[in-house]
């Protein structure tokens, strides 16, 4: 596997005069409040480590005061770290001199801001071209890259407008275009959609998902909204009081919150959008194969107290469902192998990556549980109705891991 684009190790930030003393106390395991009381310094971020793979959308999630805004600014040294390393493409940012750091910021790391941070006296196009202007690119190249970026975010026709003529959502599209035009590998997004109203926010999330599927940037996305984190993030880092509480995929965090803090968050999450068919997947209790004896299958159905069974062909591909009544008739009529006449299309299937909200209406409608198929149509497993109800009703068990 390729090395991670962004690797953060032991990243720590102390605000205040007695930095070294605060670091020592933090190293001894004292908490934020204790350090503030004893040194007057604020431990904003403490010992955070993670690595982001190329093309990954990595979410840092926390409430206000959790240090997430500080953390994202440590990643491009807008704020100078107190300890730890930030490596971009294997190069430690803290070892760079000012000029090299500026080059890295200009070419490797772009940033999108919560309140857009556009230059009000420049046009949309000039804003989008800012990184290229700083780079000293030719006017033609600036225009070409800026127009490409604006087209990508769907705002090319407003290129000559000024930011104050645009709505909030449009302004953030300009912010996004400015980051895209720089053509940098890493995108830092500091609560980019928090200042937008909910409908626009959803649009922007759609846009980001679409861009990410086309451009596959390496993104660090800051948010305080766990629904947003779950929706967008490949992995999520939960931050509390500057420390990592949990790091995992959305479903991992939902199904096993590390502590009460995380559990509190997850109780508000719309599980039907986070949990996927793959998360609820069970091994089917019973399957049959084309050519099996109907009598044997019928007996097995009786033992399993089921009304039907998936019948697979030699490649594990679903051929159909054998219902108990049809099997009984086959036995009466003396057929010795399950064939097309015993099979009915009385079942529903779903792909493993689809969220519960997409298939909840299909569950329980058929004699067999919902089938989960891979791209080739092979049966990966089933989602019984009880599993869906269990997942949706489950109140996370507090401190399951602790």
């Amino acid at each position: 596997m390729a090395p991670p684009v962004l690797r953060v190790t032991g990243l720590t930030k102390v605000f205040g005069a007695r930095e070294q003393e605060a670091l020592r106390l933090a190293g001894e395991g004292h908490g934020r409040d204790e350090i503030l009381r004893r040194t007057g310094a604020t431990l904003a971020v403490h010992d955070v480590s993670f690595a982001v793979e190329r093309g990954e959308l990595f979410v840092v999630m926390g409430l206000s005061g959790s240090g997430k805004s500080t953390l994202v600014r440590l990643l491009n040294r807008l704020i100078e770290p107190s300890a730890g390393t930030v490596e971009v493409d294997g190069r430690d940012l803290r070892a760079l001199d000012d000029a090299t750091l500026r080059t890295v910021r200009n070419q490797k790391i772009s940033m999108v801001f919560q309140h857009f941070a556009l230059l009000p006296h420049r046009t949309v196009r000039e804003n989008a071209a800012y990184a290229l202007k700083v780079r000293g690119a030719s006017a033609a190249e600036q225009r070409q890259r800026a127009d490409w970026a604006l087209e990508t975010v769907g705002l090319l026709e407003r290129a000559d407008a000024r930011p104050d003529e645009l709505s909030g959502g449009m302004r953030q599209r300009v912010g996004l275009a400015r980051a895209l035009a720089a053509d940098s590998e890493v995108l830092l997004m500091d609560e980019p959609f928090s200042a937008l109203d909910p409908l626009i926010r959803r649009d922007m999330q759609d846009l980001l998902e679409r861009l990410q599927s086309e451009l596959a940037k390496t993104i660090v996305f800051i948010t305080h909204d766990l629904n947003e984190a779950m929706r967008l993030g490949d992995r999520i880092l939960m931050l509390k009081d500057g420390c990592t509480v949990q790091l995992g995929t959305g479903p991992e965090i939902i199904s096993a919150p590390a502590d009460d803090y995380v559990a509190d968050f997850t109780s508000d999450v719309d599980r039907t959008r986070v949990l996927t068919a793959g998360d609820l997947l069970r091994e089917p209790r019973l399957t049959a194969r084309v050519g099996d004896r109907p009598g044997d299958v019928l007996r097995a159905l009786g033992a399993a107290e089921a009304n039907g069974v998936y019948v697979l062909d030699g490649d594990q591909v679903v051929a159909g469902v054998a219902r108990d009544d049809l099997l009984a008739r086959a036995v009466q009529e003396g057929r010795t192998a399950i064939g097309p006449r015993e099979l009915v299309p009385d079942y529903a299937t779903i792909a493993a990556d689809r969220p519960v909200v997409d298939f909840v209406h299909l569950v329980g409608q058929h004699p067999v549980p919902l089938g989960v198929l891979d791209e080739a149509g092979r049966l990966l497993g089933v989602v019984p109705r009880a599993a869906v109800l269990d997942a949706l009703s489950a109140v996370p068990v507090r401190g399951r891991r602790s």
């Binding site: 807008l78 910021r105 772009s110 940033m111 230059l119 700083v134 407008a161």
Partner: protein
């Protein structure tokens, strides 16, 4: 008993020493200012008044609109009829020279103070004392250094007018949205670029408010400058006071007020982004019309900034 500290004597000695040590410096400053004020006064006084009245009126029309233009026309016609035109122009020259120099000192100082905490810490108490020291106190060394006439008046005016320029510039730059500054830095802008492309343009309204204050304070120093023998409205007022001549005192005072209102409204306009963008929009529109004789109607409709910002 507490012994007497000869503070005043020390300051007096310092001034004597300065006069001994670097007399050429004060001569040079004096000469430069004299040339500036005389040159500007000549330019303002030599053509017939109507020339400059038309210029001022057009300027008011362009920057502020018809009402200020009307005021400008009437005010300066009144000044002419009061037979105070020459004195008013002498005062205007003094104010403009003092204001330009004061702005040239205070804006960079304000920028420095905003960017470096140490500068701010040093500059602030100096500004405080400059603003609160009674004006007449620094008239005395001004006379020692520069003699009588227009130059000590200009110097005293400059000293008096610097503090608000520094303060408002510093405040303006500090108030620039931190995220926008961060954005420029995050895309690799050098500190000088951040200043030039972000901080100064965004602080412009505050800086121009500071320049406006500089000009107004300079004008308020006119009478004081008159005490030192500078020609102009100040001299008119001072003469009226010494002769207890109510009539010419009122006329001289009125001329100062008329000039003050004109300068305030005119320079106040610079601080508003709307005026700048209106000028820019007008330029862009002209440019477009030249580019494409058949104007794109959509473009015309989609430039509401100029329309919105009137008034």
């Amino acid at each position: 008993m507490i012994p007497h500290v000869p503070l005043g004597q020390w300051v007096s000695d310092l001034i004597d020493w300065l006069l001994d040590a670097v007399p050429w410096l004060f001569d040079a400053i004096s000469a430069v200012m004299q040339v500036l004020v005389d040159g500007l006064t000549d330019a303002l006084v030599s053509p017939p008044p109507v020339v400059w009245i038309v210029v001022f009126t057009v300027l008011a029309l362009l920057l502020r609109g018809p009402w200020l233009a009307l005021y400008t026309l009437l005010a300066f016609l009144l000044v002419v009829s009061l037979e105070l035109w020459v004195e008013t122009m002498q005062t205007l020259a003094l104010v403009l020279v003092a204001a330009v120099i004061a702005a040239a000192i205070s804006v960079p100082l304000g920028v420095l103070a905003a960017r470096h905490r140490a500068v701010s810490v040093v500059v602030r108490p100096v500004l405080d004392s400059m603003q609160t020291t009674p004006v007449f106190v620094y008239l005395i060394p001004a006379v020692f250094f520069f003699g009588v006439g227009v130059v000590p008046g200009v110097v005293a005016t400059i000293l008096f007018a610097i503090p608000p320029g520094v303060r408002l510039t510093e405040l303006g730059i500090r108030q620039v949205d931190r995220e926008v500054v961060e954005a420029a830095q995050a895309f690799g802008a050098r500190p000088g670029q951040v200043l030039r492309e972000v901080q100064l343009p965004l602080a412009l309204p505050a800086i121009m408010a500071g320049v406006n204050q500089v000009i107004m304070l300079a004008l308020s120093m006119v009478v004081t400058a008159g005490l030192l023998g500078a020609a102009g409205l100040g001299a008119v007022v001072v003469r009226a006071v010494t002769q207890l001549d109510v009539a010419s005192g009122f006329e001289g005072g009125l001329a100062v007020v008329l000039l003050a209102v004109f300068l305030d409204r005119l320079t106040g306009a610079f601080g508003q982004r709307s005026v700048l963008s209106r000028l820019r929009q007008a330029r862009v529109r002209r440019g477009r019309q030249q580019d494409a004789p058949v104007a794109d109607t959509r473009v015309g409709a989609a430039s509401p900034v100029g329309a919105r910002s009137v008034g």
